[in-house]
């Protein structure tokens, strides 16, 4: 009988039928041809004739294929053997892999859930941290070509990196004499009271508010490359003569808030610090000013600086560094060339005006790089550290998922072995497994992204209350999401590659023999799994120790005596100069009257004013210090000191007693001899001891009057809780008139705080209803900024630490469970031969704990090396704090013991007979 099947198949091949359908048709048709052939033989045909006749009928006019094509549905080509290299169609393969990967994930939901969750946590914390860092220092300003915006900085030649501002006359010379900038603008920020009228009488329906704005040179908007939404920017003549052109451009939000988005706002009048300004333009919503973190409400010409409290000499005094610069380079020039060019001008200025400009230099940064000066060192360094630590957590997650994948690869060894046996290429198998891991990672990434959005909110919520319009936008943007995708893909490859490579080396003979399809390199695999556990434990130890150090640091910080007491204290900020009060007038009349009225309130124990509370944002430096009888140091040399401007009773209000001498009194006014109170460190530095400092006199350079030291204050913390003792002076505000002050009121009891606030508000309103009171803070809130850093560090570190611990525990547990399942038979034999439960337990647990101990030792070593970098961020705790190191090691060992014990215990419960039958 001739073989028809091949002939039939040949005619069907163009139809691309599904294999099952094709087989059916071939069977039916070949049977028909058999029958036909036999019939022809019976009628006397020869073999040859019968066979040819039957074939002719099969081939008639190509009918078969043509007719069948109309009937049979073609199916997509699905090879019978997954992963064979039948054809190299990348995209088809990819789809196939993807479908298969999804099927595999559905098949083991618990594995998928654990892996995705672990990855989501790892990727989520990384994204959240990256968003925060991005929000602080990476996000570009919404101006034209933000990356090309260059900021020059001014400072002493001897300093490595300078961040100083420029005096206005120096700016003008630089702008005119440089050859490398297409343009250079100047700006400085200022706050202002804004109101709709200039009346001082109470009863106006609109309360004054405090807004931040910028005083800018006429070319500012051109250099920034932003155009007003309505109206215009500044004209050249508005940038020429001081105090002649009171015009202002306002922000989108101010326009909406105060002018109800009135299209006809241009030409209207607003009152800034009580002075009328004509609105000439409105900026677009995205533009918030020269800085990324502070929302500005208005822009006015620098020429109006005196309206905003600048001294009259600001325009001519070369020692009055008051403006920051932004510029754009001429095409083709590098930053280095431009810097050299500016320094030529600077050298020239140094020769012409040596007393202000000698030994100074200019450095350039891009605007983004320049932001580092605004961020404190803690934020800068902390951000970097947080990125590193969150990266470590992601590594633990990767190691964890890699371990799960390995365990699963073992379970799938038979499947993979069969695929290899029927012709799948190794590369193809690896690609398939990698697709699975990348898919897992992407799912983890999506979930992690959601976590990051949530995390951004958490970070935002932790930010302490500050009386500034801070622009906190930490939600992940396109830049962050792009990185997250990269991280996810990379993660998928990192944790997927090794398991995939190992899995593809399955022992074919074992599979074919039908035995346990063990990988041929089972030792390898075991070693890799152990190594992963060791790595997880190691990294977890490092992360946990970081966490422990920060938590202990926070504990210490909370216990630290900041040098003053916030109990029963309430503070609020006022600034009469916003309403065009004169500073001298304010200090002579307004402040004493205000304090007298407030102290008359029944619940008030004491009240005082200070320009800035300790441990708040910034402080003022004065100097250089010149002792009586000594001459001025050379320009830009000598010692300067931080200072606060205070009213009498400041020390009493904060309950920080003087160690020697007397407090300021109401008689220490401008007409009385100049006096000063210094801290112990100041006294030691200049006069050896407090006793010797008392009654001595010193002055600031350049002919300022001598001041007598009338008291010595105890050393305190002024900037941060971490700082070493530093020089500090207290100057009587009645001798150094200022207007922007913080009012501090010490209440009789905590219960009276609210009443005290209300009373203070009432008294201030009675004195001038338009005077805004902002930034009311009660008791410990005054310390919230100081505690914020340690608190965030401790919170983040604990989150990371717990995450790393949980992930490492899961990893260890899964490895031990797998190891026990592999040794079930051996354990069964041991038990059958009379081994005690205790011995078996010891056997298994010691196997696991060996890995853990190696990890702990490595981790302690790593932490010892790494935590030194934390030293500057820690407070009151050594970077190698033994309590933390030992505590973390014990904690991890205890949890690891549990993770080993549970599977071991389960193994001993197995019936030896069952275990012996175990494949």
């Amino acid at each position: 009988m001739p073989e028809w099947k091949e002939e039939i198949r040949k005619r069907l091949v163009s139809l691309k039928l599904s294999p099952v359908r094709e087989a059916e048709i071939v069977e039916e048709l070949s049977q028909h041809l058999d029958d036909r052939y036999r019939e022809l033989l019976a009628t006397g045909a020869t073999d040859e004739q019968a066979s040819r006749a039957a074939l002719t009928e099969l081939s008639e006019y190509d009918l078969l294929a043509r007719e069948l094509r109309r009937v049979e549905r073609q199916v997509g080509l699905e090879p019978i053997v997954m992963g064979t290299n039948r054809r190299t169609n990348m995209i088809a393969d990819f789809w196939q892999d993807l479908k298969y990967a999804m099927r595999m994930m559905r098949k083991s939901p618990s594995f998928t859930a654990i892996a995705v969750l672990a990855l989501a946590l790892g990727i989520g914390v990384n994204t959240a941290i990256l968003s925060a860092v991005n929000g602080f220092v990476l996000r570009p300003l919404p101006v034209e070509k933000p990356e090309e915006l260059v900021a020059p900085h001014w400072g002493k030649k001897m300093d490595n990196q300078v961040w100083g501002e420029f005096s206005y006359p120096n700016y003008v010379d630089l702008r005119e004499q440089n050859k490398s900038f297409s343009d250079l603008c100047a700006w400085t920020e200022t706050s202002a009271g804004i109101s709709s009228s200039e009346s001082r009488k109470s009863g106006n329906d609109e309360r004054a508010e405090v807004v931040w704005g910028e005083l800018v040179s006429g070319n500012y908007f051109d250099v920034m490359g932003v155009n007003p939404l309505l109206g215009r920017g500044f004209l050249p003549e508005e940038d020429h003569t001081p105090n002649t052109h009171p015009v202002a451009v306002i922000s989108h939000s101010l326009w909406q808030r105060r002018f109800k988005a009135d299209q006809g706002v241009v030409g209207k009048t607003i009152y800034l610090n009580g002075q009328p300004f004509t609105v000439i333009g409105v900026m677009p919503e995205s533009f918030l000013g020269s800085e990324f973190y502070l929302r500005k409400a208005f822009w006015a010409p620098l020429m109006m600086a005196q309206q905003f409290g600048r001294r009259a000499e600001w325009k001519t005094d070369r020692s009055y560094a008051s403006v920051k610069l932004y510029g754009r380079l001429k095409p083709g020039l590098t930053m280095a060339q431009a810097e050299m060019d500016l320094n030529l001008v600077a050298d020239n200025l140094a020769q012409l005006y040596p007393s202000e400009n000698a030994d100074t230099k200019i450095q350039l940064t891009t605007e983004v790089d320049g932001r580092y000066q605004d961020a404190t060192r803690g934020i800068r360094y902390g951000g970097l550290l947080a990125l590193c630590v969150s990266g470590l957590v992601l590594l633990v997650a990767c190691a964890n998922v890699a371990n799960l994948m390995l365990a699963r690869a073992a379970a799938r060894a038979r499947e993979i072995g069969i695929r290899l046996a029927i012709g799948a290429g190794r590369g193809r198998i690896v690609r398939q497994l990698l697709t699975e891991s990348v898919l897992l990672a992407l799912l983890g990434g999506v979930l992690g992204g959601a976590l990051a959005y949530w995390g951004a909110d958490v970070i935002r919520a932790t930010f302490p209350p500050v009386p500034y319009p801070i622009n906190l936008d930490y939600a992940p943007d396109g830049y962050v999401l792009k990185w997250m995708l990269v991280i996810s893909l990379l993660t998928g490859v990192i944790f997927g590659l090794a398991p995939a490579l190992l899995a593809s080396r399955t022992d074919l003979v074992a599979v074919i023999k039908g035995g346990t399809a063990r990988p041929s390199h089972s030792r390898h695999r075991w070693n890799l799994r152990s190594a992963l556990v060791v790595a997880q434990v190691t990294i977890s130890i490092v992360v946990l120790i970081c966490a422990g150090l920060f938590i202990r640091s926070l504990g210490k910080a909370v216990q630290t005596d900041p040098g003053f007491q916030t109990e029963n204290l309430v503070t609020m900020m006022i600034n009469p100069s916003l309403l065009a009060y004169d500073d001298r007038e304010t200090t002579r009349r307004f402040f004493p009257e205000l304090l007298r009225r407030i102290e008359a309130q029944p619940d008030v124990r004491r009240a005082a004013l200070v320009n800035e509370m300790p441990l708040q944002v910034g402080h003022i430096f004065r100097g250089p210090i010149v002792k009586e009888g000594e001459i001025d140091p050379p320009p830009n040399q000598g010692v300067i000191s931080e200072c606060s401007f205070v009213t009498p009773k400041y020390f009493d209000t904060l309950r920080t007693p003087l160690v020697m001498g007397r407090d300021f009194t109401d008689r220490d006014t401008g007409d009385a001899p100049a006096v000063v109170i210094v801290n112990q460190e100041f006294a030691r530095r200049f006069y050896v001891s407090a006793e010797q400092a008392m009654g001595k006199r010193f002055r600031f350079a350049q002919g300022t009057p001598l001041m007598e030291i009338i008291g010595i204050a105890r050393d305190g913390r002024y900037g941060t809780l971490y700082e070493d003792p530093k020089l500090f002076m207290f100057l009587p505000v009645y001798q150094h008139p200022r207007s922007a002050m913080t009012l501090m009121i010490s209440a009789q009891s905590a219960g009276a705080l609210q009443a005290v606030v209300e009373g203070a508000r009432r008294e201030i309103a009675q004195m001038d209803a338009r005077l805004p009171v902002v930034g009311v803070m009660m008791a410990e809130e005054n310390l919230s900024l100081a505690y914020w850093g340690p608190r965030v560090a401790a919170g983040m570190a604990s989150t990371f630490g717990v995450l790393a611990l949980v992930l490492a525990t899961i990893g260890l547990y899964s490895v031990m469970t797998y190891a026990v399942s592999q040794r079930a038979r051996e354990i069964g034999i041991r038990m059958a031969l009379g081994a005690q439960v205790r011995e078996v337990l010891r056997l298994i647990v010691s196997q696991g704990m060996r890995m853990v101990l190696i990890g702990i030792v490595l981790g302690l070593g790593g932490a010892f090396a790494l935590t030194r970098m934390l030293a500057s961020l820690l407070f009151g705790v050594g970077a190698t704090d033994p309590v933390t190191f030992v505590g973390v090691a014990i904690l991890l060992a205890a949890i690891a013991l549990l993770a080993c014990f549970v599977p071991a215990r389960r193994a001993t419960k197995v019936d030896p007979m069952v275990a012996l039958r175990h494949e």
Partner: protein, 119 residues
């Protein structure tokens, strides 16, 4: 000669196509039959005037099956290879009845015309 031959073949095919469905449905009406049996029956009952070979018969069977008019089932009988038997479905019965009456009126109409010509 070749021309006429091809012409007649084409006519033959077109005619068959038009009537083939009816033929097959009729043949499986009484009882299920397999493909070879159907082709033999057509040839025998038409006394050799009509013949369906493998290449034309099976696509037709599959089409009818797909439409749900007939249903194929593999049947194994002792000592024989399994064969696929086709039987008429409920739906097929309705179609057969309709086609039959259409065909009969069609043939009657043709006959009336051709008979008149001949008369």
């Amino acid at each position: 000669m070749a021309m006429t031959d091809k012409h007649s073949q084409m006519l033959d095919r077109e005619l068959k196509k038009g009537s083939a469905e009816l033929l097959i449905l009729s043949l499986v009406e009484a009882r299920p039959r397999h493909g070879y049996e159907i082709s033999k029956l057509i040839e025998a009952r038409s006394r050799g005037a009509l013949s369906f070979h493998v290449a034309s018969l099976y696509p037709l069977l599959y089409r009818l099956e797909k439409r749900g008019w007939i249903e194929g089932r593999w049947v194994e009988k002792a000592g024989q290879r399994r064969r696929r038997y086709y039987k008429l479905t409920k739906e097929g019965k309705k179609v057969l009845a309709a086609q039959r009456s259409t065909w009969q009126s069609f043939v009657a109409a043709i006959n009336r015309i051709t008979d008149t010509e001949n008369a």
